[in-house]
């Protein structure tokens, strides 16, 4: 399986327009205004996706598709969002609690209409026909929400093999209902779509996978360094690379206030990094680095900057080794502002020369969620391509 930036753009557009269709169907069906927030093309493993479902306690409805394209689409909700959606579809109905037969069948109906519309867009583009299966409901207790993926045309050697996941974040009813629309095409189908968009300098998917592994190693190192420095026992929750329209980068963050650092890195690739903490986590960092001291604002800022430096070098040092290059980093700049507004200027700098971005995001947290640290890295697209070429297996 080979991938290039041009086919990733095609994928992203198709997924976005499919998601707009799906959102439109829900608006028409239920009169609930539904928006597509961000469309991401993610490279991950089946295990990554299942882990995310488990961590977020997602309930989901699955529909398989086959014919000109094979794979699976999934509409996933938090239990709260599922409940609100059912309530909006059937206001005042009793017996519509999450998991009840009534609630389940109305979620299946929504999924049927939305996912059907989504898949139609892809079939139109490829000028082919696609059949869809009846929807299956999977509750949040499921240990392997993607089980039986093999029946959708996957021939996987292992659960750690990389798959492309198209993820669309949707919001309805003034943000009260949030859900994700996933599409996981089979490897053969990815080839079908890639061929349709024409290949120009495609890179083997192994290069992307190797880069993705390198990011995961960097996140592990950053997590270990935070633990060593603060004594707070952290682990990496997610670490992934996705391909998004550039405006989707700030839109991936909310407008809640974050504290952290922003810096630039120079080399192959160069780019920007933001390391952001929610306010309680930033307070935790400051007090663990300055034990027993009240700490004025200037001291808190320098504590955050110090941890920013540590996280950045933990995160990036491995890149230079793997890519056989040097990557220099600028001094960290302290930020304390609306999360999406912090990342906006970074995306805007890149927007001058590229329409899409590879967004690397990792979350490091404690098991109890009391401490979370999000790392967002935005490499320059052209330079990342060069870096990926370095990772291409020798021919």
């Amino acid at each position: 399986m080979n991938l290039d930036v041009r086919s990733l753009r095609t994928f992203s557009r198709l997924a976005h327009s499919g998601a707009e269709k799906a959102a439109g169907s829900l608006t028409t069906l239920a009169g609930i205004d539904t928006y597509v927030n961000v469309t991401k093309v993610e490279l991950g493993t089946k295990t990554d996706v299942e882990q995310e479902f488990a961590e977020r306690d997602l309930v989901s409805v699955h529909i398989g598709f086959s014919g000109g394209l094979d794979g699976r689409t999934v509409l996933a909700f938090s239990p709260e969002s599922a409940e609100r959606l059912v309530d909006a579809l059937m206001p005042g109905m009793d017996g519509a609690e999450t998991g009840s037969e009534l609630a389940t069948s109305s979620l299946k109906e929504v999924a049927n209409i939305m996912l059907g519309g989504f898949i139609d867009g892809w079939a139109d583009y490829l000028d082919t026909t696609v059949d869809i299966t009846t929807p299956t409901y999977v509750d949040d207790d499921s240990n392997s929400p993607l089980e039986n993926l093999e029946s959708d045309g996957f021939e996987h050697e292992s659960d750690n093999e990389h798959i492309l996941v198209f993820r669309n974040q949707l919001e309805a009813a003034d943000d009260a209902i949030e859900f994700d629309l996933y599409m996981v095409p089979s490897p053969d189908s990815i080839k079908t779509i890639t061929d349709a968009s024409g290949q120009h300098g495609a890179l083997p998917v192994q290069s992307f996978a190797a880069f993705s592994d390198m990011i995961a190693d960097g996140a592990d190192q950053a997590s270990a360094d935070i633990t060593a420095m603060t004594g707070i026992d952290t682990t990496v929750e997610v670490s992934r690379m996705s391909f998004v329209p550039i405006e989707g980068v700030p839109m991936s963050l909310t407008d809640s206030v974050r504290r952290g650092v922003v810096l630039e890195f120079f080399g192959t690739p160069s780019g920007y990094i933001a390391i952001l903490f929610d306010e309680p986590s930033a307070d935790n960092i400051a007090s663990s680095l300055l034990p027993g001291m009240e700490g004025d604002e200037a001291m808190r800022q320098s504590a955050i900057q110090e941890i920013g430096n540590i996280v950045t070098s933990g995160f990036l040092d491995g890149w230079a080794n793997t890519l056989g290059t040097t990557i220099d980093i600028s001094p960290p700049k302290h930020v304390h502002d609306i999360g999406s507004a912090i990342v906006d200027p970074l995306a805007t700098e890149l927007a001058q020369s590229q329409e899409y971005a590879f967004l690397i995001d990792s979350t490091i947290r404690t098991d109890d969620d009391e401490f979370t640290c999000d790392i967002y890295a935005l490499p320059n697209e052209e330079e990342l391509r060069k870096a990926l070429e370095q990772l291409s297996p020798a021919v």
Partner: protein, 169 residues
């Protein structure tokens, strides 16, 4: 074949969310919101008599011919004005309010000169001036982020900032 469509106009909801590189208008006293303005520029347009309000959130100052018009201040404002006129607004009655365009970081990689934020504000002013639209209030520049809420009933633009607090323009 068009594979990328952005349905930017939805006038039947009380609240309309405007994304980044996006614009929307309302005719029913809707509230238009947008968040995450750093160097981006927010342009609120209002025709009180026609009851038409519009909000644009642009990333960059001047259009690239191949780009999505909503991404740029000049073409974004033009496109929003055209849709507002179609909905009954009259350019001669429209007033404008600007917010955003801050310079949050002094990047080493940006080659000196004016920040993107400043250039975004300039491009918005220039485009509005071309249509003789008065900028009646503004909160631009600085080094902080903003979120906006335009009240379509009154034309009030509420600007939220984590640093300087909230204000109404």
């Amino acid at each position: 074949m068009q594979v990328y469509t952005t349905d930017t106009t939805s006038t039947h909801s009380a609240r309309i969310k405007v994304g980044i590189a996006d614009y929307a208008f309302g005719t029913d006293g809707n509230t238009l919101t947008t968040s995450g303005l750093g160097s981006c520029i927010g342009v609120a347009l209002y025709d009180a008599e026609a009851g038409v309000s519009g909000l644009a959130h642009a990333m960059l100052p001047e259009a690239d011919p191949d780009g999505d018009p909503a991404k740029f201040a000049d073409t974004g404002i033009e496109a929003l004005l055209a849709e507002m006129r179609d909905a009954g607004a009259d350019t001669s009655r429209i007033i404008a309010k600007l917010a955003g365009g801050s310079a949050m970081f002094d990047f080493d990689s940006s080659d000196g000169g004016k920040s993107i934020g400043e250039r975004n504000v300039e491009a918005a002013r220039k485009t509005l001036e071309k249509h003789d639209i008065d900028i009646v209030a503004e909160d631009v520049g600085g080094s902080h982020g903003r979120s906006l809420e335009l009240d379509g009933k009154t034309g009030d633009l509420r600007v939220r900032s984590a640093k300087t607090g909230d204000q109404t323009l």
